[in-house]
Symmetry: C2
Subunit: 378 residues, 2 copies
């Protein structure tokens, strides 16, 4: 059931240049043997999970670690989180067998809106169903079963990766020893607002074509704007102030003059605008608009307390030792919210500690300042 | 030079329902007698300033107060800031002669992108030039000259209105006794980023048509999205959390189900999304996209320190007594930034104090919590 294929380049590393990118031991696809009933009531026909592994599974099969990636990440955790594998850091290529699985809905190998729906013979497109965090965890568990892994020494992730990590400890209390949940709690109203804005940026692009866009004509401008809206929430105002301030764009624009087209309404860009434009351009070269919409929704709808009458009911089954990390300058998932979330879970009888990463970098700090994160966790 | 015309309804009051809307003593247009040379190097042919006045100018002509409106405000200060006129509050209809002048670039009566360029006989559209805050102040001074007003007891405003108020005290040091500057400093990198996002939302709308859209077919979706991006910066995360949390949209959407069109990618809205959509819809009924672009740029480019070698050079001429107000939950113009700005100006030898409005409301607090603002200023 496991197809091995050569490593492919997917999401660029957030830390490129900081640490050596690690190549996976192997990278492959796992196809679920049966149709999957989703929380939303729909069925996904035999979805594929694309995954990468690093290190070797030991004979006792008790050295497995699951890393869950963030919104637009890939299974190639060695590319986007290499410093976590540094000598004496969180993970060890010598001692651990590290698995990272691309989320359903993504465009990095697992089944998503760009995949062919076997029932129609065409890409799912906008008909791709809502796949919840729990659905992802249930599918991931089947992959681990196929690898003969019953126990996880550790499951960890930041942002939406942390949502998956926590749901692992809830849904499979006897399979997880430790959970490390970074920069996340159920999305608050401001986070839901930011996702709503991003969604609209894509939906307003005429090339989105109700989600049935041609591969050669995707909604580039809408997806680029969505990414830019996302970027302001991943970084912090102090970081932007330090890096860009009120400087004119370094490529030579003059914000005080008319723009190239002569319009007095637009003008040259400030440096922060040039930076955001570049981020948008880079993103549309690597990500798909419908996949982005799919995962935004997976993120929006995650709330382990939903439908539960108490925190005990939601979290009481957890047996793992949990650690939560808040990031001091994060305004998408504020540290205070993460701390309160950890407190709620601890009050439900779970072993849970909370640590705070002091960083000006904002939400992205767990990717951008990996060495600091490692120090915090030691 | 002063044409009196009946009051027209413009920007709806942010405090509608809280305090009685005040009708202006009169509302009219002032047309500059000569073409106006702008800071950007271009000329605006005999621009019109639309303005409203409240109360009566006394015989000594020393009871005049100038109120400068915020981004999408109008000259009708009695409609959007009525509580400032309450008994014992900041302004008095009995003792003050209050003037409020619509900004150049706006769509509420003063010359803007929707006005006819006398040189071409057509609307300026995207050719409307960059009008700086200083340009606005210079035009406003001519209007006051025409009314025989040499001295202002007070000039005040919040947000971009505060930019105008401060520039009044810099450009006309002998005409202003006091300045009250609320929730503003030169826009930082995060604020510039937010304006960049809003600008793109409009420019990406195919109906924008490079700024030459038909009056009956304006870029509604782009302008609505721009307003929504603006709204998240005018409010605070705690306010959103308290009001909307993770509730489903009160009109009945279900975020966990497929949307009406059956797409799994979109789904029902959360309450915050319904609120933002409503704000966007309301806005496109009252504001023009090119006017919005014009004033965003006026705001972006304001920086009294630009081109000055020192704060003394920028602010040393000020003779007025200044008061700055920061708003504790404002993240567009953070209170700390306003405080530092006031400190810089005080260090240049200006009489300036700083007060902080403790509010969960965010930047909009000066409009949304007027009674609290009045108490702070008493």
């Amino acid at each position: 059931m496991t197809e091995i294929r050569p490593g492919t380049s997917a999401a660029p590393s957030a830390s490129a240049g900081k640490a050596k990118i690690l190549e996976p031991t192997y990278e492959g696809d796992f196809v679920l043997s049966e149709p999957m009933s989703l929380e939303c009531g729909r069925t996904l026909a035999n979805p594929t999970l694309h995954y990468a592994v690093y290190g070797r599974l030991n004979a006792a099969r008790d050295n497995a670690v699951l890393v869950c990636h963030a919104l637009t990440g890939s299974a190639l955790v060695g590319a986007w989180w290499p410093e976590i594998f540094a000598q004496g850091a969180v993970l060890s290529l010598e001692h651990d067998f590290v698995i990272c699985i691309n989320m359903l809905g993504s465009c990095y190998g697992s089944t998503g809106p760009g995949s062919v729906d076997p029932e129609t013979g065409e890409a799912y497109g906008p008909d791709f169903p809502l796949v919840s965090i729990r659905d992802n965890v249930r599918a991931q568990a089947q992959l681990l079963d196929s690898l003969g892994i019953r126990k996880l020494r550790l499951v960890l992730g930041g942002s939406i990766g942390g949502m998956q990590a926590l749901d692992w400890t809830i849904l499979h209390p006897n399979r997880v020893e430790r959970g490390l949940i970074i920069g996340v709690a159920p999305l608050g109203a401001m986070g839901l607002a930011l996702n709503h804005l991003q969604r609209q940026a894509i939906l307003h692009d005429p090339d989105w074509a109700e989600g049935r866009y041609l591969p050669q004509r995707p909604p580039r401008r809408g997806l680029a704007l969505a990414r830019q809206i996302g970027m302001i929430s991943y970084k912090s105002a102090p970081l932007f102030e330090e890096r860009f301030g009120r400087n004119p764009n370094r490529s030579g624009d003059d914000p005080w003059c008319v723009d190239e087209k002569g319009s007095g309404l637009i003008g040259g860009r400030f440096d922060i605008a040039g930076y955001l434009d570049l981020q948008g351009q880079r993103f549309i070269e690597r990500f798909d608009a419908n996949a982005y919409l799919a995962i935004l929704r997976t993120m929006d709808t995650w709330d382990p307390l939903r439908g539960c009458s108490s925190a005990e009911e939601a979290f009481g089954r957890i047996r793992a030792q949990l650690s939560f990390v808040g990031i001091s300058s994060d305004w998408l998932f504020p540290a205070e919210t993460v701390r309160e979330f950890a407190t709620t879970i601890r009050a439900a009888g779970v072993r849970a500690d909370y640590r705070e990463m002091i960083s000006a970098h904002g939400h992205d700090a767990f990717l951008a300042e990996q060495a600091d994160l490692v120090r915090l966790l030691q």
